[in-house]
Point group: C2
Amino acid sequence: MRKARNALYAQSGGVTAVINASACGVIETARKFKSKIGKVYAGRNGIIGVLTEDLIDTTKESATAIRALRYTPAGAFGSARYKLKGLEESKAQYERLIEVFKAHDIGYFFYNGGGDSADTCLKVSQLSGTMGYPIVAVHVPKTVDNDLPITDNCPGFGSVAKYTAVSIREAGLDVASMSKTSTKVFVLEAMGRHAGWIAAAAGLACEKPGDAPHIILFPEIPFDEDKFLAKVDATVRQYGYCAIVASEGVKNTDGKFLAEAGTRDAFGHAQLGGVAPVIAQLVKSKLGYKYHWAVPDYLQRAARHLASKVDVEQAYALGRTAVELAVKGEGAVMPTIVRTSSKPYRWKIGVAKLKDVANVEKKMPRDFITDDGFGITPKCRTYLAPLIQGEDYPPYKNGLPQYAQLKNAAVKKKLSTEFKV
Amino acid sequence: MRKARNALYAQSGGVTAVINASACGVIETARKFKSKIGKVYAGRNGIIGVLTEDLIDTTKESATAIRALRYTPAGAFGSARYKLKGLEESKAQYERLIEVFKAHDIGYFFYNGGGDSADTCLKVSQLSGTMGYPIVAVHVPKTVDNDLPITDNCPGFGSVAKYTAVSIREAGLDVASMSKTSTKVFVLEAMGRHAGWIAAAAGLACEKPGDAPHIILFPEIPFDEDKFLAKVDATVRQYGYCAIVASEGVKNTDGKFLAEAGTRDAFGHAQLGGVAPVIAQLVKSKLGYKYHWAVPDYLQRAARHLASKVDVEQAYALGRTAVELAVKGEGAVMPTIVRTSSKPYRWKIGVAKLKDVANVEKKMPRDFITDDGFGITPKCRTYLAPLIQGEDYPPYKNGLPQYAQLKNAAVKKKLSTEFKV
């Protein structure tokens, strides 16, 4: 019988509150298949670590430490924004991958990322044919952007969705209580440069007329200043205050990001990464209302303390399934979430071919947004509501969540060659 | 026997995650003293509601609804930023208060706020002497700023402290995992215009060298650009990234707020309420590091989902004690937190005279900040650590915290006169 081959796991792109739960699923499951999988290595800082032969030996981590990944946000092995292009364009990179794979007897590759990494994962799986190196490559989906096709939703999204909905509910109560004499308009910025999924999720906090948020601004809907200001004014007049959630990717009618169109720094440079202050300032200058704004930025996607239980469970299940598929020799695939029922919510794991996943972006359907462009429809609510269900608190010590602290011991290098990334 | 007189409760100033826990303590306790206290009314939007005779009848709320205040953030009856001045300057206001008190047989006044409202509460208690109206006025302390004297700490602070420490721990892990190819410097802005208490609390997240936050910027320490940039650069070189927490009140060496010195909007106005982007931009322009920044604003003080259990318990206990003092006829006082031990943490309730509280601001001691001005000392840690202890989660439904929804029914007006505020 052929000896068990090693596995390589790498995280890619922006991290999430639950990407480590997928890592936990991969590593815990691989440890159960000792006859097929030898050691699980991880790329330090994702694919960068693979290319530079900077691998982490996860066998040095205790079962307790690996278990702790389930409730630890961000990327425990480091992630990278580093896109491999086509096999021709990035030939040197792919050849280097094979070189590293061979040196460490890697038979399984698990790539945990979004759309770009699904494409890379597909290309790696094709290496077995084009470059004569046998490897089973499975993609584990992850993205707060929720923009991967086929899968009903993406791990990481449910938790940032929950964070955003809870935050606007809480901040909305705050503004409501102060509005008589102080702040009347509050703008919360949500991640989402191209799609309004996260901003849409804030809409779940509105359960009856008058609840925050009163207005959601989507990248999908060109920003109509007059209509927006009229709605803000009407909301303040009716409820005494107005709570707004704005996608960072909101664009003017001429297609420019509002965040770039507004403020300039002292040197005259466009002030990037803050659509909330631009909108708040607009309200102030046109309507005169006192404002506050918030930009939670990384806090939203790292907020493991407020993770969705459904999200954690799905992230883990996808990691586990990736290994189960791999040991059956099923490569060039991505396990997916299949929704079988919305009320009550039921889901199971499916499998998609990577060639159907790579380079396809799932947009938010127009019928998820209300006709006036400022809210979510019941259809959208039905889709989103299950994804934020349940709480899954990390353990606390001294008042703070105790997240995994890995050794991240390096695997001894076997290659004499270096690779410049 | 004299018939029980009514009580009036009002919230004042910026709200917190636990001010309603104090309200809960006041109302639940008052309901136990039926022979002494008739109805508990609340000022709608704080003192504004009292002046305009817009009172809320809390007897219309069920025991369950009042109990829910214990885990509901913000001000359930509305708060106000409205400062009464001296008895001479604001004579019309004080006379109006008496008029409303008389009309509704108010014998007890509970004012839940910070330093300014302690002063107002003191003046109200003096009314019995100067204006011949008998009333017992007790101040219930509340402020995220933690700047009231005598009391060891202020309700509201522990929860925002916990939020800030947890947030920088989570975001720090995020940045660490991305730093190889992406963001290297992250700036989290914390509330605190005059004192660095909240930013200091972020330091609790740093439990060993290299943990976030690496740098804290305090309003107490003039911002030294060169020293700061050198520290950022050294941190990035050593750990690969740098996580910074900046008080909104950080000032230049010439005493100007950094937040005002930096960016200008498209109209040339100073862009207020964002020191984090100013600092991030400075790092980028001088050191070239990719940055992200976050301004949680109201999210931090409204984050009941992450409240400190100690904070909730103290907020409730202070509300309860205020009533116990009042029924004994002890007015012109404020119940306080007395720390009897730090390790293990033990506290009890004390009583301060309002004349010793009003208009005194508690500053952060210089020996709570490290010599280099960028961190907290062990002494500071010993003080802060107990205040974020324990979790006290609200109940969730459909993935969202279920906060109190009061009827806030109006008390029938008895006065024919109107009062313009």
